[in-house]
Structures are given as C-alpha cells and as structure tokens.
C-alpha cells in the first residue's frame, strides 16, 4: 500500500516535436531502479482525477526525478504535461512502480536494449546506470525510430557511444540521414547480427505494442531465451 507524493516541476527539455523530459523534485523520494515507472495524478478544480504511467528516465538521484512524456494527439493528460504544466507547479506521483522490468548495474553479463520510439525512456535509465557503473560489461542499444528528428537524447547517446563498452545503433524506419548504410525499415533479424551472444545476455524491450511483439519474436528466433527477455508495452 503506497501513498501519493507531491512533485514539483523544476525543468522541461524538448526531446522531439512531441517528446519531452520533465524533471520533478519529489520530497522524500525513496529512490528507484532503472526500468521502473511512476503513476502521475492530476486533479482538476472540480475534483476530477486522471492517472497515467510514465517511465523514469534516469537512475536514482536524491529527490530529483526525470520522466519521459510523449504527447499523444488528443490525449487527456500527456499534451498538458508536455507543454502546459508550468514550471514550479505541482502534481502527485506514486512509486517507484514495477519490479519486473528492472535492471541494476550490479548484475553481471551483457545488456541488450531494444527501444521503439519513446520506448527509449526506461532504457535510457539503464544506459545511464551502465555508464555510471565501474563495470565494463558491454551494453548495446538498438533504437528503432522514424527519422533523425525523432531521436530522444541525441547528443547524450552520441557521447555514450564513444564509451568503449556502450554501442548505440539507430534503426531508421522512415527517413535516414544521408550516407546511412542500412536501408530504411523496421527492425529485422539482420539487425540482430553481431550482438552479445544469447548465453548470459539480458534483453529489455520497450516500445509500442507492435514493436515489442515483433522484437520479442526476433529475439526468440535469434536464440535468446524467453526467461532473459523482459518487455514493456505502452500501446
């Protein structure tokens, strides 16, 4: 049984045309693990309440909590959070939530992360935790995304890819930058070549439902064990 905590918006970063990262200050936040999420509750003047789930984008950092918000067209909550909630205003959050789609840097073995669009958000918490840990276990991020305009954390991912043990590969599904070797299109089995061997690798997949189902099937076909694949769908 948990309660709701007040969370004050302290910053907002535009990631894409419709994607934002929001930083909240949450007094007495108990900390969390990469992959977990929170539920955010908004209360209107007439008492009407709406609750939505958002992934935590960064490892635990005191009372600072970073969420990824993709504005859904016509959505009731996400467009408001993305662009209208003023900095300094408060919402309520409960969490951290979820104990299944989580990873901690203490775990041994390579990490394989498959993100579809804004599914990058919880996986970014894992990438950041991997970069901050002394371990040099390999970490591979495959990010399936429409075009270069749709990439979250572009500069930070470029910098991460310079780390010896972190590999970041964008898979463009609609439009690729000039000179891209891979043809534009959805994730295929060919994209899973030269990845960490299935034996001791942990896989996390997050994205739209269609992407998650497709990526999960490809991982199974490539020999990754069902017990080492964890998935999270957001519709």
């Amino acid at each position: 049984m948990r309660g709701w905590r007040r969370a004050r918006l302290t910053g907002r970063t535009k990631q894409t045309a419709t994607g934002r990262t929001l930083v909240f200050e949450v007094p007495r936040w108990p900390g969390h693990r990469p992959g977990q999420h929170v539920d955010v509750r908004l209360t209107a003047a007439d008492g009407y309440q709406a609750v939505r789930s958002y992934s935590l984008a960064a490892p635990a950092d005191g009372e600072r909590v970073e969420l990824g918000v993709q504005a859904a067209p016509g959505g009731e909550v996400s467009p408001y959070l993305a662009d209208d909630l003023p900095v300094g205003a408060e919402v309520e959050v409960t969490g951290p939530l979820g104990g299944w789609f989580v990873w901690t840097p203490q775990e041994a073995g390579p990490l394989l992360l498959l993100a579809g669009g804004s599914g990058i958000v919880p996986l970014m918490a894992m990438v950041r935790a991997r970069l901050a840990s002394p371990s040099d276990e390999p970490c591979t991020l495959l990010h399936s995304v429409r075009s270069p305009d749709d990439v979250w954390y572009a500069a930070e991912l470029d910098a991460a890819a310079a780390a010896r043990h972190v590999r970041v590969r964008h898979l463009w599904t609609r439009a690729a930058p000039e000179g891209a070797a891979r043809p534009v299109g959805r994730l295929t089995g060919a994209d899973l070549r030269d990845l960490p061997p299935p034996a001791d690798c942990r896989c996390f997949v997050c994205g739209p439902t269609g992407f998650v189902e497709h990526a999960g099937d490809l991982l199974l076909a490539a020999g990754y064990a069902p017990g080492r694949i964890r998935t999270e769908r957001f519709g």
């Binding site: 959505g75 009731e76 409960t94 789609f101 804004s118 919880p122 439902t209 964890r230 957001f234």
Partner: protein
C-alpha cells in the same frame, strides 16, 4: 511507459503496478502464474492488459483467457481474479501526504 489515452492495442501487466499497488504489500508484477486454460506460465507483468475503461482486463498472452480485472472508483477498487470468480471490493485509502 507512456500515456494510455488512445491505444488500439493492449498494454501489459507492468501497467498494473500502480493500480494493484494500492492493495498489495509487495510488487505484484513479478508474481508468477500458470494459465489454467492453456497451461502457459507467465508473470503478472507479461499478461496482456486491455483498458483503461471501463477497467483494466489482464489476459493470458497465450490464449487470452481472463486472468484478472481491476476497476478503480473514487472510493473503491474492485479486483476479480480469473474469469468468473466474483470481484473483491477493497476500500481505497484517502489521499495520504
């Protein structure tokens, strides 16, 4: 995770962590079950979840048999386990600081 406002497809049991967390002492998403209809094992996180209105329905990813339903009202949370087992009504705590 992101907003569930208008989704033609299902979510998964990760989305139940918040609603069920109101009435469970431990994280429910790691709970394991075997579907009584098709015998497929899965964690609660792996169930396919449809909703959010009028409530969240979690189904076996193998055969779509109903595993649970949860409906949240202002003062109560209704939880039905399985397809035809009746629903438990929990009183929801008032807003806590």
């Amino acid at each position: 995770m992101n907003e569930h406002d208008e989704h033609p497809l299902h979510l998964d049991g990760n989305a139940l962590a918040g609603p069920l967390g109101e009435v469970f002492l431990v994280d429910p998403t790691t709970a394991w079950r075997r579907c009584p209809s098709c015998l497929r094992p899965s964690t609660l996180a792996e169930l396919h979840v449809y909703g959010p209105e009028p409530g969240l329905t979690a189904r076996c990813p193998g055969c779509a048999a109903v595993a649970l339903r949860v409906v949240t009202q202002p003062g109560h949370l209704w939880l039905q386990l399985g397809g035809g087992a009746g629903a438990f009504r929990f009183s929801r705590p008032r807003i806590m600081p």
